[in-house]
Amino acid sequence: MMKGLKKWRLFSLLAVMTVFLSACGEEYITTLKPAGAVGKEQFNLLLFSISIMALVVVVVSVLYLYAFAKFRRSKQGEDHMPKQVEGSHTLEVIWTVIPIILLLILTVPTLITTYKFADVKAMEEVDEEGNKTALTVNVTAKLYWWEFEYPEQGIVTAQELVVPTGEKVYFNLKAADVKHSFWIPSVGGKMDTNVENVNKFYLQFDEESADLKDGVFYGKCAELCGPSHALMDFKVKTLSREDFDNWVAAMQATEGQTANADSADLGEATFANSCLGCHAISGVGASGAMGPNLATFADRNRVAGVLEHSKESIEKWVTDPEPYKPGNLMTGKYGELSEEEISAVADYIMTLSVED
Amino acid sequence: MEETKFTPQTWPDHPEQATMEGKNKFVGIWIFICSDIVLFASVFATYLSLKDKGPAGMEFSAAELYELPLAFVMTMLLLTSSLTSVFAMYHMKNYNFKGVQTWMIITVLLGLGFLGLEIYEFYHYVHIGFGYTQSAFSSAFFTLVGTHGLHVVIGLVWITCLIVRNARRGLNLYNAPKYYAASIYWHFIDVVWVFIFTVVYLMGVLG
């Protein structure tokens, strides 16, 4: 009878938790509506551990409230002298053993998942022709922006990670300046980008992002990295495998694309003179750029990671980046530009696209 | 506190713990040493993880740098000084103040010899280009051995102060615990050096 009651309690608790938790947050950023296998497992662990812990809190609170209500001095009289009890061995054993059992129950999935999430052996697997079978992305975190290199495909992009759905995507994580941390809350838990070593992990993206409000998932930097830590956002676009392959092909087709300083277009000429030194506009290459690659700029969702994606934003940003991202490394690197030049550059950048 | 005149017969067996203050000092120095052990453990761990680490093309490695004979002489000096401080404590228990002072002075002299060789060693390394800021390895080496060296300096100043201040006063239950604590501290420094000799020099040279 007691056992049945406990099971029922646990179950209903679980149900209530599920409803309550999943009502929280926006689906493109919350961990409570996971859109990937890793995030789902983490969410299940959350539910599982929260249920056990809620049980503990409830038991403790009930005991304590009951004791508190029952043994008030106002009820027992001012002179009541309670029995001075030393302790109880039986009780001590009970409240030592039961928590140990609860923790052991929690330990099992913890250990299994810890090893499972750390399994990146598939990164090295190759098919008959010697090509890597799994998709690997090299992530480099830099002061307030993210660089994503696809080494097998020979392409590189920034600020917006593009990945296929339904398969494990492996990441090599590294920081170029100070420590950051790579986090896509709605897809799965994070990993730090250290300055002296490469960390590896994988995520799996199970939902295409096109139906989301902005058409992307949100990514965050989770480790304090300076004044603009809060603004070091990136976005994640998840595509079907077919669309992803098309995107890769389109990126590879931008090989050699560059801006001409002698161009009749003021925007292109200005870009070539003032911006090209740091910002490449060809998607072919490797990581290590000074500034974010802009080959897919027009396809992106935000300017500088946080501003609305519009010409006005670019103009504001190029005029003076400092107020929008304090401590960024772009301020003061490109000389004075006239309003006309800035407007032209903004127009030019908005044409950089690999999508139709 | 009233000055009581002692004879070797009335002098207690454990003069360092005969008073409350003495007992406190006795326990206190041991507790402090527990803490200092953790301090050295942290520096040792740092040294071990940065050993031979440096910028690309670093020319110094532990195997080529260290000179065992010098380190061995230093070790012998410090070990002997530990022994002489034991002699001092032996005389303290027998209420022989002159013996205490003499052996403590010898301890200080041996310690100074050690320190001189260490300074020479550091000077030599800097001279050949292995300076403090040269690599992570050099920073870690100088910090570990230097921390020990600083402990030696503090120990020498401490013991010298004791020798000077008590020269006229003679031995009593007020200063006996102070001598005792200083000698415990000195043994501790010695033990740390044995670890440095093993971990830094021996393991450094052998690979």
């Binding site: 001095r73 913890t110 | 409350m20 507790i31």
Partner: protein
């Protein structure tokens, strides 16, 4: 010298000099209390500024850079400069009384510990006026703190180095005091739980602060003298800092929470009028928590990339801590069970503590689940968790103990009525602020962000959280008001203010004379005062010795001089990387002052003084009227 035996009304200057030179544990407790409250208020104010900034999205109430300074100083100050000294205040005031001692083992070092702590803290806070406070978080991870421009991090490193030395010295002092200074009959297993937790907490200080000292030193030489410990281009490794910091940082939590447990273990039995349930298992649990506290530091580094084996080991070790902590909670509940509960303000805090702390504890176990922590780490969930532990566990203990021990420390009582208002406003504000932050974390909000965009579903919860923070602020203002009101209130001149005191400190009549016990008490069992009281002993204790001369230590200004030397030297080191010509001379002068003061101390005989029997009787008569302490 012995003329100071009789406390007389003194002039202002004389009082100040008295406090600057005092070695009396009760006066040092007052100094710790004042300094701790001051820094608590400053750090609380910093928190309010941050919550106002985060009240609405895209706010620009404070700048990004200043926000990082606020969050760094809030964390650093609260842990090192507010919680630690406030707990030290109670340890200083109460532990010697609980074990029947006239003072601590090393009164001189006790004073030195305080002044090092205080000048280190002062040095750190000067950063606000001298070019900017540290801004790399209280954890000050190496890559960011090496990158951080200006002198903020230098202030952090030097300030914490000095105040950390003070804390370590105090820790050693408490350990020796508790080992050697116990009154006859006060065996280890008769020690009150607050004394036990102070002992274990001091032991943790002993082992945890050296790694911090080393870490700070490495950071210091890296930033100021060109060393390469954390510079990876020169072979350095920033992960070393993370390890050293957390080998210190995790035990630090227990350094603070164990004395808090101890305080509640004193409060609960008094107001439940019942012996602490399961005393020996409480002691065992304290030791076990202290031990395990050193085995779990890497759970702060689950996402650093230490590999699955390290993560798995530290996950399991961390979960294990829940067991002894759970034992404690159940023992407290069983102490209440069958008791006669009087709801006073200290008891209110104790009652509020249990559910809040349990909530903080269980979220800790959730984070110990390493794969789940990949989601929770560095999110607002963590912020919620450790505030539940620290505010729900430590701050409630401190506030409760303000009320509980005020009569012994100041011979005055804090207002119960105002205290109850304070409790409810603070307590509700606390849950309002932090409960909701669990969900903010789960909804993807990273911690340490100075602002957030409006489109992420976090607006409402952040707003509610800020309202809660304002309520907490009101609560603290009420508490401070209460303190000021108590200054004007009438002296109590009583014994056992709460009526159900059990341990030795309640056997003393207030105000407590500077020598504490005119005769050393003989402890005949657990809860000695309760024992004597219920055997009808009017004086509250049995004595181990006849009335005789008392030996007391001399006051000294040298601890302050030693600390000032360090303070001066720190300025020299701070400006060394700027290449100013005076930096090395200033370092030398500062350290010279310190060393000279230490040598003076070493060369001079300091034998203390004796309080004669007639002076004792005169003091007792002056404090308690004719007949003295009867």
């Amino acid at each position: 010298m012995s003329s100071v035996a009789v406390a007389k009304k003194k002039g202002f200057g004389a009082t100040v000099w008295d406090y600057l030179t005092t070695v009396d544990h009760k006066k040092l407790a007052v100094l710790y209390l004042v300094a701790g409250t001051l820094f608590f208020a400053i750090a609380g104010f910093e928190a309010l500024l941050m919550r106002i900034q985060l009240m609405i999205p895209n706010n620009n109430f404070v700048s990004a850079g200043f926000f990082n300074e606020l969050l760094t100083m809030h964390g650093t100050t609260m842990l090192f400069l507010a919680a630690t000294p406030l707990l030290f205040a109670f340890m200083n005031a109460i532990v010697p009384l609980q074990i029947g001692a006239r003072d601590v083992a090393f009164p001189f070092l006790n004073s030195l510990g305080f002044w090092l702590f205080f000048l280190g803290a002062l040095f750190l806070h000067l950063s606000f006026f001298m070019g900017g406070a540290p801004d790399a978080g209280w954890t000050s991870y190496a890559s960011l703190s090496l990158y951080s421009p200006g002198h903020g991090i230098d202030f952090y490193v030097l300030g914490l180095q000095i105040s950390g030395a003070g804390t370590l010295i105090s820790g050693i002092n408490f350990i020796v005091t508790i080992i050697t200074m116990r009154a006859p009959g006060m065996t280890f297993m008769r020690m009150p739980l607050f004394t036990w937790t102070s002992l274990i907490s001091s032991t943790l200080i002993l082992f945890a602060f050296p790694p911090l000292t080393v870490g700070l030193f490495l950071m210091l030489v890296d930033r100021m003298f060109g060393a390469n410990f954390f510079n990876h281009t020169m072979g350095g490794n920033t992960i070393i800092w993370e390890h050293l910091f957390w080998i210190f940082g995790h035990p630090e939590v227990y350094i603070l929470v164990l004395p808090a447990f101890g305080l509640f273990s004193e409060i609960i039995p008094v107001f439940a009028r019942k012996r602490l349930f399961g005393y020996s298992s409480m002691v065992f649990a304290t030791i076990l928590i202290g031990f395990l506290g050193f085995m779990v530091w890497a759970h702060h580094m689950f996402t650093t990339g230490l590999g699955p084996t390290a993560n798995a080991i530290f996950a399991v070790a961390t979960m294990a801590i829940a067991v002894p902590t759970g034992m404690k909670v159940f023992n407290w509940i069983l102490t209440i069970w069958g008791g006669s509960i009087k709801v006073t303000v200290p008891m209110l805090y104790a009652l509020g503590f249990i559910p809040s702390f349990v909530a903080g504890g269980v979220t800790g176990v959730m984070q110990a689940t390493a794969p789940l922590d990949y989601q929770l780490h560095d999110s607002y969930f963590i912020v919620a968790h450790f505030h539940y532990v620290i505010v729900g566990g430590i701050v409630t203990a401190i506030f409760g103990s303000f009320h509980f021990y005020w009569p012994i420390m100041f011979n005055r009582a804090l207002s119960e009525k105002l205290g109850k208002w304070t409790f409810w406003i603070f307590f509700i504000g606390f849950h309002l602020t932090f409960f909701i932050q669990h969900f903010l974390g789960l909804m993807g909000m990273p911690r340490r962000v100075f602002t957030y965009q409006a489109d992420q579903g976090w607006d409402l919860f952040n707003f509610i959280s800020s309202i809660g923070a304002l309520m907490m602020g009101v609560g603290v203002i009420l508490l401070v008001t209460n303190i000021f009101m108590s200054i004007k209130s009438k002296p109590l001149n009583c014994r056992d203010y709460w009526g159900d005191g059990r341990s030795l400190e309640w056997a003393l009549k207030t105000p407590v004379p500077f020598y504490n016990f005119k005769q050393t008490p003989l402890v005949r069992g657990f809860d000695p005062y309760w024992l004597e009281k219920h055997e009808g002993n009017k004086e509250g204790m049995t004595y181990a010795e006849p009335l005789g001369d008392i030996h007391m230590p001399n006051n000294s200004i040298i601890p302050l001089v030693i600390s000032i030397g360090m303070f001066v030297a720190a300025f020299g080191a701070l400006y060394h990387p700027d290449g100013v010509s005076w930096s090395i001379p200033v370092i030398v002068i500062g350290l010279g002052i310190t060393v000279a003061a230490m040598i003076t101390r070493s060369l001079k005989d300091d034998l203390g003084f004796h309080v004669h029997v007639d002076e004792i009787l005169a003091t007792e008569e002056e404090l308690y009227g004719k007949g003295g302490n009867k």
